[in-house]
C-alpha cells in the first residue's frame, strides 16, 4: 500500500521539512476534526494553497496529503450523517451501520499510521508514494519546466 520511490531529484533540507509538515498538518487535523470531518480537508487545503508555488517535492507531498483527505472526508461525513439520521430522522440501527462505522474507523487508523510513517520518512528525504494516491498525484502534479 505504501512504496518508497526514487524522486526525480534529491530534495533539500527545507523541502523535506515542508513536505513532512503537510502530513503533520493533516494528522493534527484528524485529531482536532474528529467530530466534524470537514476540518481535516480545510486544514490540508490551506496548507496546500500556501505551498502550491513551492518546489516540486513539497507540492507533490502536499497534493498526496490533500487527495488522501478527500476520501476520508467523504467516508467520515457519510458515517456522521448516517448516525445523525438514525438519531433524528427515525432510521433504525442495523448491522450494516455498525459494520460501516467499524470499516471507517479501520480506514482512519490505517490512514493515521500511514500519515505518521510518511511524515517521518519524508523528513528524512525519502520519497513515499501511497497506493492509488501516489499514482493519482503523479497524474495531477507535474514538475515546472
Amino acid at each position: 500500500m505504501i512504496r518508497t520511490e526514487q524522486f526525480i531529484y534529491t530534495p533539500r533540507e527545507h523541502e523535506e521539512e515542508a513536505a513532512s509538515n503537510s502530513y503533520v498538518m493533516s494528522m493534527v487535523a484528524i485529531i482536532a476534526g474528529l467530530p466534524l470531518p470537514i476540518f481535516n480537508l480545510i486544514a490540508t487545503l490551506i496548507f496546500y494553497l500556501g505551498n502550491r508555488k513551492s518546489t516540486f517535492f513539497v507540492r507533490w507531498h502536499c497534493t498526496q496529503a490533500l487527495l488522501s483527505q478527500f476520501t476520508l472526508v467523504i467516508l467520515n461525513s457519510t458515517a456522521f450523517w448516517w448516525t445523525i439520521s438514525i438519531i433524528f430522522w427515525e432510521k433504525s440501527w442495523d448491522n450494516y451501520f455498525f459494520a460501516y462505522l467499524l470499516t471507517v474507523i479501520i480506514v482512519n487508523i490505517a490512514e493515521f499510521i500511514a500519515t505518521i510513517y510518511t511524515a517521518v520518512q519524508t523528513r528524512k528525504g525519502i520519497h513515499v508514494a501511497w497506493w492509488f494516491y501516489g499514482t493519482l498525484t503523479n497524474l495531477v502534479c507535474k514538475p515546472r519546466i
Binding site: I87, D94, N95, A99, Y100, T103, V107
Partner: protein
C-alpha cells in the same frame, strides 16, 4: 498512468466494500446488545408512564369493558399476525376523546372516546391506528426525537427529574406524531381493518365527523386535537381502502358493544 489510477482506485473501493460487507455479516446488534438495552429501557419507560397516567385517571376494571376491548384487540391481532400479549390495553376514566400508545406496547383508551364513537367500528379504527404506532415503533422514535435518548435512559433508570417525566407524559398523550408517521399509521390501520374484515369507512367517518364539528363540546377532543388535518386524512383513508374489501363483520354482538359502552359510561 490513467489506466493504473483507475485500476488502483477500483481495487481500493473493492477492498473497502469487501471489508464493509464482510463485517456486516457479524451480528453487531446482538454483540453490542442494542436490542436488549432498547427493550429494557422501553419496558421501564412503559411502566413509569403508565403509572403516571394511572395516578391521575382511574383504570376501569369492569369486566364488561375489559372483555369487550380485549375481544376487539384480540380479533385485530389474530387477523394480522400480531402478538396479542404484546399489546397491553388499559381503559382509563377520563372525559377526553383520546387514545394513545405508550412504550412497551401499552395502549391507553379514555372512556371519553368510547362514549363519543358512533359504533364499535369507529373505536376499532382508532385502536388499529394506535396498534400501528406500536407495531411501527413510532412511540420510541417520537420520544427519542423529542426528548433525546440520553434523557430517556436516565428516565428509565430513575435518575431524571419529575419535570422531565411530566413533560414526557404530556408529549405522549397530547402531541401529534409528525405527518409522515401519522399517515403510515393510518394506512397500516386500514390494512389491519381490512384483514380483520372491519369496514374502514367508519374510521374515515369518525375523522371526518370530528373535523367538521365545531361544537364547543368538541373543543375537548384530545385525539382530534393531537391528530390534525383530520379531513385530509379521512379522504386518503377512504381512497386507500376503496375496493380493498367487501365482506365485513362486527367483532362484538350488539349486546356486547352496548355492555362495553354502558360499563365505560357508568
Amino acid at each position: 498512468m490513467k489506466k493504473q489510477v483507475i485500476i488502483e482506485g477500483i481495487l481500493l473501493a473493492l477492498l473497502f466494500l469487501v471489508t464493509w460487507i464482510g463485517l456486516a455479516q457479524v451480528d453487531w446488534l446482538r454483540i453490542l446488545k442494542v436490542e436488549t438495552v432498547t427493550s429494557k429501557t422501553e419496558k421501564k419507560l412503559g411502566d413509569i408512564f403508565l403509572e403516571t397516567f394511572k395516578k391521575s385517571d382511574q383504570e376501569i376494571n369492569n369486566l364488561q369493558v375489559t372483555r369487550g376491548i380485549d375481544s376487539i384487540v384480540q380479533h385485530i391481532c389474530h387477523a394480522n399476525g400480531i402478538d396479542f400479549n404484546r399489546i397491553k390495553t388499559h381503559v382509563l376514566l377520563n372525559d377526553q376523546v383520546n387514545a394513545f400508545a405508550l412504550p412497551d406496547g401499552h395502549l391507553v383508551i379514555y372512556t371519553g372516546l368510547i362514549s363519543k364513537v358512533a359504533n364499535q367500528e369507529e373505536l376499532t379504527g382508532v385502536i388499529c391506528h394506535e396498534i400501528a404506532h406500536i407495531e411501527l415503533h413510532h412511540v420510541m422514535k417520537k420520544l427519542i426525537k423529542e426528548i433525546g435518548l440520553s434523557v430517556l435512559i436516565s428516565l428509565g433508570s430513575g435518575n431524571a427529574s419529575g419535570e422531565i417525566l411530566r413533560e414526557s407524559t404530556k408529549l405522549l398523550s397530547s402531541s401529534a406524531y409528525d405527518r409522515k408517521l401519522e399517515k403510515e399509521a393510518d394506512i397500516k390501520a386500514v390494512d389491519y381493518l381490512i384483514q380483520a374484515q372491519i369496514n374502514p369507512d367508519h374510521f374515515a367517518n369518525f375523522l371526518d365527523r370530528l373535523s367538521e364539528n365545531d361544537d364547543r363540546m368538541y373543543a375537548y377532543l384530545g385525539w382530534i386535537n393531537t391528530h390534525p388535518d383530520a379531513k385530509e386524512r379521512a379522504k386518503y383513508i377512504t381512497s386507500y381502502s376503496h375496493s380493498k374489501g367487501n365482506r365485513y363483520l362486527k367483532i362484538l354482538s350488539d349486546t356486547g358493544w352496548q355492555a362495553l359502552r354502558d360499563g365505560a359510561l357508568r
